[in-house]
């Protein structure tokens, strides 16, 4: 390990080497029985986590809180900026300096890019970025990697198709970079207006993995091991008619999946709207709810590592 995990901030997936991410995945796997309540471990007893959420979140906040509780720790925070001093005009820097005196680790979601790094600048306590604007959401990327690794046994050389809003979706940017770091073969499927930004393509190329861009989902999934679907957000389109046209093109249903290999897994960071038909839910392909559960063991692993109870 190039540097230890204890006391470390988790701001961007780029701050972690492949070896470090692999270690996080190993620890996450060991956390599964505890995350399910089948085993007990109270090694974070006496530790306090502060979730500071300036934007709404369901899965991320609940899974962090569940992770902390499963390991015997406590949670003291807020998820409604309307009732906090932010409304009175307090800066994030001041909020963080106040919160650090109450807790051992801060989990932050904020609407502005770079907010997590700023928070980390103002506290000695570790800060975990739970999404900063259109920026990074590293723990989502880690749980996505964990899901592929658990379901497929490896990430290297797997054929991963990313479909949906590849231009604005923050999860797919970090995920594409991380998958490239792990040597997965990538296919980006989106209408041209929502294709992957150039800087992400450049990064993928630098990693030397094979990648392709397409607007044909049917063809792309023929040899895919993983289909990662993201929501296309209507607010990104100036013309609602254009949105309707695009959103219907990439709907995943059992008919479409007939053209894929029988072992393909379908992932989605959730919430979904109608990108995946509910009929897919009952098939072995659907792993998106398992993926949402995986947020718990992965976040348990991260909390245990940065609070120093696991090396």
């Amino acid at each position: 390990m190039s540097q230890g995990f204890e006391g470390r901030d988790i701001i961007s997936i780029h701050d972690f080497s492949r070896k470090e991410i692999e270690h996080i995945l190993d620890v996450s796997k060991k956390m599964i029985p505890i995350a399910k309540g089948e085993a007990q471990d109270f090694s974070l007893k006496g530790k306090i986590l502060s979730p500071i959420f300036f934007e709404p979140s369901t899965r991320t906040r609940l899974s962090f809180e569940t992770a902390m509780n499963r390991l015997g720790g406590s949670v003291v925070g807020f998820s409604d900026p309307e009732i906090t001093s932010l409304k009175k005009g307090e800066t994030l820097a001041d909020t963080i300096r106040m919160v650090e005196s109450y807790s051992d680790v801060v989990v932050l979601r904020h609407p502005m890019e770079g907010a997590a790094k700023l928070a980390a600048d103002f506290t000695e306590k570790p800060v975990i970025n739970a999404g900063d604007g259109a920026g990074q959401h590293p723990t989502q990327t880690m749980l996505d990697l964990f899901t592929i690794w658990m379901e497929k046994g490896a990430i290297d050389e797997k054929n991963v198709v990313l479909v949906g809003d590849l231009k604005y979706g923050r999860t797919v940017h970090s995920l594409a970079c991380a998958l490239a770091k792990f040597g997965a073969n990538l296919t980006f499927v989106a209408p041209e207006v929502l294709q992957m930004p150039k800087e992400i393509i450049d990064y993928v190329q630098e990693q030397g993995v094979s990648y392709s861009q397409s607007d044909n989902l049917e063809k792309a999934i023929e040899s895919a091991d993983v289909l990662y679907v993201t929501r296309i957000q209507g607010e990104r389109f100036p013309d609602p008619a254009e949105y309707q046209k695009v959103v219907g093109t990439y709907r995943v249903d059992n008919e479409l999946l007939k053209g894929a290999g029988k072992d393909i897994i379908v992932m989605h960071p959730l919430p979904r709207v109608d990108e995946i038909h509910p009929d897919v839910d009952g098939t072995p392909h659907a792993v998106y709810f398992k993926q949402a559960f995986n947020g718990v063991p992965v976040r348990m692993a991260l909390l245990a590592l940065i609070l120093g109870v696991v090396k």
Partner: protein, 152 residues
Amino acid sequence: MKEIKVAPIKNGTVIDHISCGMAFKVLKILGISDANVDSTVSVLMHVPSKKTEWKDIVKVEDKELEPIEVDKISLVAPDATINIIRNFEVVEKKTVELPDVAVGILKCGNPNCVTNSREPVRTEFVLKSRNPIQLSCSYCGRELENIVDHII
């Protein structure tokens, strides 16, 4: 080649080898306008240069540059040289150097970057490439376009 007919200065700074057309940007960085200077400022534009064919030169009397001003000049004129003149003699000659990390001298172009809010934070940009100059914000990661327009 004809000699340049601008009188030597007694005390002050000569900024030579400024990229052609950037002299006024350098004046802006130094905060020089006709209303606020008591000494002579000479601006030479489109001057023949041995190194780069054409260059600009700025001479400012009775002023020596602050390190932060030198850092800012490096962003608009990466090949500039700074000559400190005391009593008509060049007492110090140095080339500007692009800093690996530019702190507090540039504004991020991303309106949703936290450094553009009212947080008490200095901007920070990491140098990704020297030629062409490429800088990215340490906070939001956005690469800076039109660097000259974002100098604080």
